[in-house]
């Protein structure tokens, strides 16, 4: 018995078993539970009512569409603001760049609720109104580092010979950028988009704090339903969000087809 156990542990591939069991219990089964609750009624019978309710419920539907819109705007703004920053950083001497990258990542170490409230204070301080403007500013502020970092990472690893080759072959700066640099950084852009779009679509609490409860995003709709004991309906809404995210990442992968998901943040 003991020898069996020893040889079992000796086989190093078996070391992944505890984690596999853990993943099954705390990731796969819980996701299965979302599906189960979404397709059942209060007493456990199969039903589609939860989805029909979402479809027929204009408030939930509007929040859903509005959230997608906010997430799209935030993602585009982060890309427009973040790409040049990542590019500039990647062209600096590595020592300076390292410190600057650190400075860009650092705000993420302050609890995001405090950061959000600080944004509110900033708007108050400048006596700007709280509303859609502050919402989008707060979102961009919260998620910009997530766009800069992956793009910087990939640009920094880019072989500068390729860029020089393009220049030697007579490409003008615009062409060099559009035909060489941009395509090479596509995987970074793609993971940046995912890292901004997904959290924005699912945030909860940020929107309320930034707009003094005037604007609500889809994440809050989920939370409210779960909190009010509407587990089945809440699960159905979660499934809708999961589908949206699956679709986004599928579209995103289609565009770039990168297989190196490793080495993410920090």
């Amino acid at each position: 018995m003991q020898r069996n156990l020893k040889s079992f542990i000796g086989l190093r591939r078996n070391w992944s078993i505890p984690y596999l069991l853990f993943l099954a219990l705390f990731v796969l089964i819980p996701l299965g539970l979302i599906v189960y609750y979404a397709f059942t009624s209060h007493d456990g019978a199969f039903t589609l009512t939860n989805f029909r309710k979402f479809w027929m419920h204009p408030e939930a539907m509007n929040t859903f569409i509005f959230s997608i819109g906010i997430a799209l705007i935030t993602t585009v703004l982060c890309l427009i603001l973040g790409y040049p920053a990542a590019y500039i950083l990647s062209r600096m001497e590595s020592q300076n760049a390292q410190i600057l990258v650190l400075l860009f990542i650092l705000p993420m170490w302050v609890n995001f609720l405090i950061r959000t409230l600080a944004t509110v204070a900033l708007f108050d301080f400048l006596s700007l109104p709280l509303g859609k403007g502050s919402l989008i500013f707060g979102m961009v502020y919260n998620f910009l580092p997530f766009m800069i970092y992956p793009i910087y990472n990939i640009l920094q690893k880019t072989d500068s010979n390729l860029i020089e080759a393009a220049q030697d072959l007579g490409a003008n700066p615009r062409q060099v950028f559009l035909k060489t640099i941009l395509p090479l950084s596509a995987p970074g852009i793609s993971s940046g988009i995912m890292m901004v779009f997904m959290p924005v679509i699912s945030t909860f609490a940020i929107a309320e704090l930034l707009t003094i409860n005037n604007i609500k995003l889809f994440g809050t709709t989920l939370q409210e339903n779960i909190y009010n004991g509407m587990w089945n309906y809440g699960a159905a809404l979660s499934l809708v969000m999961l589908l949206l995210i699956g679709l986004t990442s599928l579209l995103n992968n289609e565009g770039t087809a990168n297989d190196s998901a490793e080495g993410g943040l920090i």
Binding site: R12, F26, P30, V120, M194, Q223
Partner: protein, 262 residues
């Protein structure tokens, strides 16, 4: 030259935008006013009152809970994730791919989905929610990052060293301790730090798994506070301290690694 100045100032403007809110918090941590944005004269009072016991009992409790939950879940994630990485590395290619894919699910899952799914798990199992459920939930979303930071170290490791140790009569445990662990240590440490940060910063998953027995972490405390309308003034100096500590630590680590390279 002009290009250089332009690009530097662009970065400068972005950094100002990113830091303006934090600066405001730091500035207003030196005044007593209840409302953020209202200057009522310079004072250290908020700084001293965080450390006075009893004044804000629930705040210091929340801070302790956050740190303890962060340390326990980061440590557990580090052990579980390192073992998993060693296992995954030694799996056959096909199985390895599948497990790596599974490993990315918790990373890709939005917070709120992780939160709701775990909430449903705990109520289905009839678990009473509290310390244990929060820690389990934090281990769930932290471990994948440990796996991702340890795996590259394994790839870089010389496989033969471990085999050689075994051939020379080392027990697997001894070889693990003397050969493998020193190689994996940097990955494990960065995994631990990442897990700790993720844990102390988490809000959504914590809120859904913390139950209603009065347990609070810093994030849930701030949330409850913000919903009540105002922010407890002591949170300003507290955030300022956390921020400055992190800044100094990171700059220090960075400086050290630059020196090492030379």
């Amino acid at each position: 030259m002009i290009k250089r100045i332009l690009s530097r100032s662009y970065l400068g403007v972005l950094l100002i935008m990113l830091y303006a809110p934090i600066l405001i918090i730091i500035i207003f941590s030196f005044t007593e006013s209840k409302v953020l944005g209202n200057w009522t004269g310079f004072s250290f009072k908020l700084y001293t009152s965080i450390f006075k016991s009893g004044v804000h009992h629930s705040l210091s409790n929340a801070l302790w809970n956050t740190l303890i939950i962060g340390l326990i879940s980061a440590f557990a994630s580090m052990i579980l994730g390192t073992m998993a990485a060693i296992g995954i590395y030694n799996l056959r290619p096909r199985a390895r791919k599948t497990v790596q894919l599974l490993n990315t699910i918790p990373i890709l899952n939005p917070d709120i989905i992780t939160a709701i799914s775990l909430f449903l798990l705990f109520i289905s199992l009839g678990f009473s929610q509290g310390y244990t459920t929060v820690i389990l939930a934090h281990i769930t979303f932290c471990t994948p990052y440990v796996v991702l930071s340890v795996l590259p170290r394994l790839r870089r490791m010389n496989e033969n060293l471990y085999e050689a140790a075994l051939d020379l009569g080392a027990t697997p445990f001894y070889a693990l301790r003397k050969i493998m662990l020193p190689e994996l240590k940097p990955g494990m440490i960065s995994g631990f730090i990442l897990a700790f940060t993720l844990s102390i910063d988490d809000f959504v998953v914590t809120l859904f798994t913390i139950g209603n027995q009065g347990l609070e972490t810093l994030s849930t405390y701030i949330y409850a506070d913000a919903r009540k309308g105002g922010l407890t003034p002591e949170l300003r100096p507290l955030s300022a301290i956390i921020f400055i500590t992190v800044l100094v630590l990171l700059l220090f680590i960075n400086q050290r690694s630059v020196k090492k390279k030379r």
